[in-house]
Symmetry: C2
Subunit: 217 residues, 2 copies
């Protein structure tokens, strides 16, 4: 059964691939699973029909028969558990790959989201210029540790996994800040993720929604 | 095999149960699994031996034979997947319970952590008093949605699950702010979690480390 996901009809990042449907699209491409995409306006996202699927009024959702999921982390994990290609077979290695998904979402992403909040939700506040260096230092504290752990390995723990997918997507959000390029091995890690054919297909599909060059079915 | 977890030798919350070992202790109590606890000083947490287990220099870790995990979300999920009691048997209900774990950690917790950052890391800054109402409104936006979805149900999706465990722990962090009590059904939900015998045993065990009334073995 082909799952249906939701995405922004007009992505706030203008197709840079930072909206959270990208993670799900990428995961589906990695495992060779097609999907249908239902596009939602900002207005529609906040209305009762969508909130019945996603209580926080966000994208993406994932519908597959009578299963409906939200939270990109949960959706990617569900895909990874039901199709080969995103989690190792070995039970311990599998637990560690899932651990890296949580590390991306709960340890690395929160300070990065602070930077976004400062730049967008608090861009007009008098304190923001002075707060930015504090926020950036909190991000650097995470990146220092992550860069040390990654070292010169290609991926965080053996072969590419759903943990790398989530971490690469989390780090991509740092590109406009210049912070990522203070860490050459992390920048190369993100570039390796972006070079994967599945990433490129998913990126093109979400960009096509923005440019209008391809209507999702 | 009895797993070993790590926890603060001297918890910054003085035994209020907000350190992230509490989530793991609670999960282990729910499934009836004993554990050993290794206590770490703030200094030891940042040294190479612990960073080899936890690259970000945090607690908890989880060691079971040759498996080492970090990230409380990943550890709780691992426990829930290997013991009965924290995830439904039905495949769809299981996916939804895991979804609520991610919702707790990646949608509800980040704005709550912003409040903690403001109160602790930026308590001496001139802007903090003016920023607090903005942060609180961002938290309320999440709580509004969560309260609406929970309604008058006991738990988020059927029986108590690892999703509720993570959400209750996330919401507990709001108690000092008074925000939780703006939402009577969420306050009652947290109270239901805290009334569970497994929660009480886990809470007592982490408090005993702080008060020195019980040496963990």
């Amino acid at each position: 059964m082909t799952p249906t996901i939701t995405a922004f009809a007009s992505s706030p990042d203008r197709g840079q691939g930072l909206a959270r449907d990208m993670r799900v699209r990428w995961a589906l491409e990695e495992v060779g699973q097609p999907c249908k995409v239902r596009l939602l306006s900002f207005h529609a996202m906040k209305q009762p029909p969508h909130r019945a699927l996603q209580p926080f009024g966000q994208i993406p959702t994932y519908e597959e028969g009578d299963l409906t999921l939200f939270e990109s982390g949960a959706i990617v994990l569900h895909i990874a558990q039901h199709h080969a290609g995103l989690l190792p077979d070995d039970d311990h290695a599998r637990a560690r790959a899932i651990m890296w998904m949580f590390a991306a979402l709960n340890t690395v992403e929160p300070p990065i989201l602070d930077l976004q909040t400062a730049k967008f939700a608090e861009s007009d506040k008098p304190w923001t210029a002075e707060r930015l260096p504090l926020i950036k230092d909190r991000i650097r504290a995470r990146l220092d540790d992550l860069a040390l752990r990654l070292g010169d390995a290609d991926w965080l723990d053996g072969a590419f996994s759903a943990g790398d997918l989530m971490m690469v997507q989390t780090l991509q959000r740092l590109k406009p800040s210049g912070l990522l390029h203070e860490y050459p091995n992390l920048a190369a890690y993100v570039a390796r993720g972006e070079a994967r054919p599945a990433f490129k297909r998913a990126f093109a599909a979400q960009l096509a929604v923005f440019t209008g060059s391809l209507a999702p079915d």
